[in-house]
């Protein structure tokens, strides 16, 4: 019994959600992939996630990537989550009934409303990203999630949603959800990295980092630099982006303990 309890506590504390953001086009996807490779080398089971309207990963990995995780290699899977998909799952989970969820979404106006309501899609994605840490559902079977997040401004809007929703809703499941998600986002299980690719310290990232801290209470783990002589000495190589990501994986050692 004691042994069982011990395992439980350790494995819970172990789960981590890595959120990688930064200015558009700095190499978020490549560094996310590098981090996934690094965590895998530590014998972790890793899920790499993008959130997009239209999946880019299918093109990046030359393989159909969708809502359900697809295995790339041992202990490494990828998934592409759209807000609408996550929302569908979220509705079912909160209502605790598939048929009620179907009933709700069978109404045209209701469906339009739910899909357009401000913040619902974002809370659904954040809800899914933190589901394991909130012990919602059956465990997904991954130790770590690496979230290849939207670029800076969009990440801020996304992370502002839980506190925004809390202000509209006084009581009820959505308030509870938002509260729980926010607690996880502020906790040790979430590690936010901002990426830059110039040797000059980026004002934009400093501002973002300050806003994340003051407006939401989310601490930035590190700002990492991906350029020739920096943390991730990126060189244009003749090999594919995936091979380059593999080469860069070892440099994560310094940032992930």
């Amino acid at each position: 019994m004691l042994l069982f309890l011990g395992c439980f506590v350790v494995s819970l504390g172990y789960m981590a959600l890595y959120i990688l953001s930064g200015k558009g086009g700095v190499g978020k996807t490549q560094l996310s992939m590098a981090l996934a490779y690094y965590l895998k080398s530590l014998k972790r089971r890793v899920l790499l996630v993008e959130s997009a309207q239209v999946s880019q990963y299918s093109e990046f990995f030359s393989k159909e990537v969708g809502f359900k995780p697809v295995r790339l290699e041992a202990n490494l899977s990828v998934a592409s989550w759209t807000g609408v998909d996550c929302l569908g799952e979220y509705v079912g989970r909160v209502l605790k009934s598939e048929s009620l969820a179907r009933f709700l979404l069978s109404s045209g106006p209701m469906k339009t409303l739910i899909n357009a309501a401000p913040g619902l899609k974002e809370i659904a994605i954040l809800g899914k990203l933190t589901a394991d840490q909130r012990s919602i559902n059956m465990p997904t079977g991954f130790d770590d999630i690496v979230f290849d997040a939207p670029s800076s401004g969009h990440l801020l809007s996304m992370l502002q949603v839980p506190s925004g929703l809390q202000k509209i809703v006084g009581v009820g499941p959505m308030k509870k959800q938002s509260h729980e998600i926010l607690k996880i986002l502020k906790g040790d299980g979430v590690k936010v990295f901002l990426i830059e690719n110039s040797s000059l310290a980026s004002v934009e990232l400093k501002e973002l980092s300050e806003k994340l801290q003051s407006q939401i209470g989310v601490e930035i783990h590190s700002i990492v630099n991906m350029s020739k002589d920096a943390d991730f000495p990126y060189i244009e190589s003749k090999v594919s982006w995936l091979e380059t990501a593999k080469d860069l994986a070892k440099f994560w050692k310094e940032f992930v303990v």
């Binding site: 209502l95 969009h154 502002q160 949603v161 509209i168 809703v169």
Partner: protein, 311 residues
């Protein structure tokens, strides 16, 4: 009446949309009246013109106005235009949902962007409107935002939301099913959210037609606008933009030019992907901007570097 030409720059993140928007706006402003607007929340545009986060716009020269697209002012000015009566207007402003649209829930900025576009177009002031957009994959697309919002502001949705739970006892079958729907929604979000939502729809119903008018006009302007796709010369950007083009042309959009930014001669991984990219889009015209050692940080510097490349 002047009917401004609209140039929109689209593409995935970090490819150079902002730089190209600034370059074209600046170049055009040497001979024409130009308004340059960014709808990207990261507002990189402000760095080129030494603007602060809080600035909403800046007059750069007699011919060039730069706007950072301020959501709060746009929403408020829209209400002022469409609800002249202050009492009615305050009712809308006071609903919690509207308050959060002005504050934390800034995810839905589509409408204000579209409204600014329509207003700038009808102001009869500009020869050109140049638009810098958010990355294509992050947000619900700026290009399709009008259509999505049109659904939300349809008569059908408003009729559905015009619901007084009190009348439940004497209501018919349809109302009972609707009541059950609202109850279920309440279980999802909380009953007070549902009440807020019903109140919100009731309060904004006077502006429904006005909103729809703006949306339809915006939709028309975007359909007629010149779409320029910007793509950085690297493997992931080429792959990502390939998806974007497929998606856009599938939805009936027509792309005028593809700008290949940060281009260089070489035989790296990107050159292989690019060969394939060119083959798949042989019907489109390409313009090349060479890779620079240092990124130009001012409009004038951009003009010097880009002008030869993209004439």
């Amino acid at each position: 009446m002047i009917s401004p030409k609209i140039k929109i720059f689209i593409g995935s993140g970090g490819v150079g949309k902002t730089s190209l928007s600034v370059f074209y706006a600046y170049k055009l402003s040497k001979k024409h009246k130009v308004k340059l607007i960014t709808f990207d929340p990261s507002k990189r545009l402000k760095d080129f013109f030494n603007m602060m986060d809080s600035d909403t716009e800046k007059v750069v020269s007699d011919n060039l106005l730069v706007s950072l697209g301020n959501r709060k002012t746009a929403l408020k000015s829209f209400l002022k235009d469409f609800i002249p009566d202050q009492k009615t207007r305050n009712k809308v402003l006071e609903t919690k949902i509207f308050q959060s649209l002005l504050g934390d829930l800034s995810v839905s900025q589509d409408f204000t962007s579209l409204y600014e576009l329509v207003k700038s177009h009808s102001s009869e002031t500009y020869d050109y409107i140049v638009i810098d957009t958010p990355p294509l994959h992050n947000s619900s697309s700026f290009l399709q935002g009008a259509k999505t919002l049109e659904q939300l502001f349809s008569a059908k949705v408003f009729k559905f939301m015009n619901f007084k739970p009190k009348s439940f006892l004497i209501s018919g079958l349809i109302d009972r099913s609707r009541s059950a729907l609202f109850k279920t929604l309440g279980r999802l979000t909380g009953q007070d959210f549902v009440s807020e939502l019903i109140l919100f729809f009731e309060n904004i119903s006077p502006i429904r037609i006005g909103v729809l008018k703006v949306l339809r006009e915006a939709d028309k302007l975007i359909e007629e606008a010149e779409l320029n796709l910007v793509c950085a010369y690297n493997e992931l950007s080429l792959r990502s933009n390939k998806i974007a083009i497929k998606n856009l042309t599938g939805k009936g959009f027509h792309i005028a030019d593809i700008f290949i930014n940060k281009y260089f001669e070489g035989d790296g991984a990107e050159s292989l992907v690019f060969e394939d990219f060119k083959l798949s889009h042989s019907n489109l015209s390409f313009k090349y901007i060479p890779k620079l050692d240092k990124e130009p940080l001012s409009p004038e510097a951009l003009y010097m570097e880009f002008n030869d490349a993209v004439v």
